[in-house]
Amino acid sequence: MAFWVSQTLNALALGGLLFMLASGFSLIFGLMRVANLAHGALFMLGAYVGLALVKAGFGFWTAAATTAVLVGVLGGVIERTLLRHLAGRTLPQVLLTLGLAFIIADACLMTWGGDPMRLPPPPELAGAVRFGDVVFPRYRLFVIFASAAVALGLWLLVERTRAGAMIRAAVDDVGMARAIGVSASTLFTAVFCLGTALAGLGGVIGGPILSVYPSLDQDMLPLALLVVILGGAGSLAGAFVGAYIIGFIYTFGQVLVPDLAYVILFLPMVAVLAVAPQGLFGRRLG
């Protein structure tokens, strides 16, 4: 019993981290039709920058907030200076973001070396809590609640504010949104900043669980893509449900049938693509 409870909590923690990564990817793709393949690298960069800030003497929370801002600003610069010129050109966008992913990964390798590093959790969340037979790291419990809080905050932003309504309108029909005065340029940059800031924040929050190592981006990006394909691009609810589905499949797959972990991870995606290509919560793209 303890095994199942413990793995369920692990799955929830991983699902939460995947939501932080995939929600930004999904919003960016839904709004701008840009598959930002540098998203995993920005997650990894967030983990490294957070670690560097902690090592430089900053507290974990300050490091996390600063990293989110820094990675968000970097995302904004990428959108304004590079992606802006490639609007509507899918292949150049894919090549550009893939190239950026390699550049960021190499820059991380050059700066921080190839050895895995551990990002310590904040002291107040160190140690474990016990529920009966189950002993579970306190920090992982925090990740479960923190990611739920991020999901709630994002939901309120997108569903309950005028800015969120503009984002949804532009996801529905960007040309028409512009024709009623919505500034697509400002919206694109804001959403790109938000999405990449979430990736950076996810990197720091995930650091103490996943540790920080050079191919972290390659491990995370496919999972984010799976979440978005499963949930449906542009849908926050889709990213939420997709992230927890993948979190559960990945966690239990690794533990129960490690040899087939990737098979059972990708099978649901194939099934969803065959039955509902737009994903569980996505709309059929025009």
């Binding site: 309504a165 028409m176 024709a179 697509a184 340029s185």
Partner: protein
């Protein structure tokens, strides 16, 4: 009356196909100008070009003397062009109220009538009843009212209406026509594209007939209505 909108020698292309060539068009302030013609004559293309959704290759588009061409759709909207597009193009994932909230813009110009959200809802009471409803779940007629209300909430100086009666039941067409008449009475300048010829002729002060992207005829609605040869030749009406 001064010209609210004027197009001079405007050329618009779809790829390499010239859809509008050398268009000369003026819309008088406070009047309804009907843009008529057969399918493919260039009517929707013209409206899309004015709204900035399609670029012009050549020519000039002025709104009360200020140039619009080369500006983005959002800037053109803020300058005072309101678009009710063909097919409505409402946002399915937004409620009625959200449509009006994101579109609402306090007028920066001396508008003949200021539309705030309550004012727009007063014009279409049915929308007030449905303000919390997702637009994607509404009927075609309600969506059309919403598309007009959304454009009005931007407080335009010129309203572009593209097929507002398309696909609607006769009773709803009458409601939409009443709303357009009320807007005209309030002094709003309107450029109307409409296949429902009796409706267009009833609402219009001036008619412009397009054929193959060029102006084939212009004049008053009574002249057009009383000239069967003209109607048959340019509009295919017998």
């Amino acid at each position: 009356m001064p010209d609210a909108l004027s197009l001079s020698n405007v050329h618009v292309y779809h790829g390499e196909i010239c859809a509008v060539r050398g268009l000369e068009l003026t819309c008088a302030e406070g009047a309804v100008t009907a843009l008529l013609g057969r399918n493919g004559a260039g009517k929707t293309t013209t409206l899309s070009a004015i709204a900035g959704l399609l670029g012009t290759r050549q020519g000039r588009i002025d709104l009360f003397g200020a140039p619009l061409e080369g500006r983005g759709p959002e800037a053109i909207c803020r300058a005072g062009i309101g678009l009710v597009p063909q097919g409505r193009r409402i946002f399915p994932s937004l409620t009625v109220l959200e449509h009006l909230q994101i579109a609402y813009r306090a007028p920066r110009h001396a508008a003949t009538r200021v539309f705030d959200i309550a004012g727009v809802e007063a014009l279409f009471p049915r929308l007030r009843e449905r303000r919390r409803q997702l637009a994607g779940s509404m009927s075609g007629g309600e969506q059309q009212m919403l598309a007009i209300a959304r454009a009005l909430a931007t407080n335009p100086r010129v309203l572009l209406l593209d097929e507002p009666a398309e696909g609607l039941a006769p009773q709803i067409v009458a409601e939409v026509a009443d709303a357009i008449s009320a807007l005209k009475a309030a002094g709003l300048s309107i450029l109307l594209v409409e296949h429902n010829l009796p409706l267009a002729l009833r609402l219009a002060d001036t008619c412009v007939v397009l054929s193959s992207g060029e102006v084939a005829w212009r004049g008053g609605p009574d002249t057009l209505a009383n000239d069967p040869d003209l109607m048959a030749h340019h509009l295919g009406v017998h």
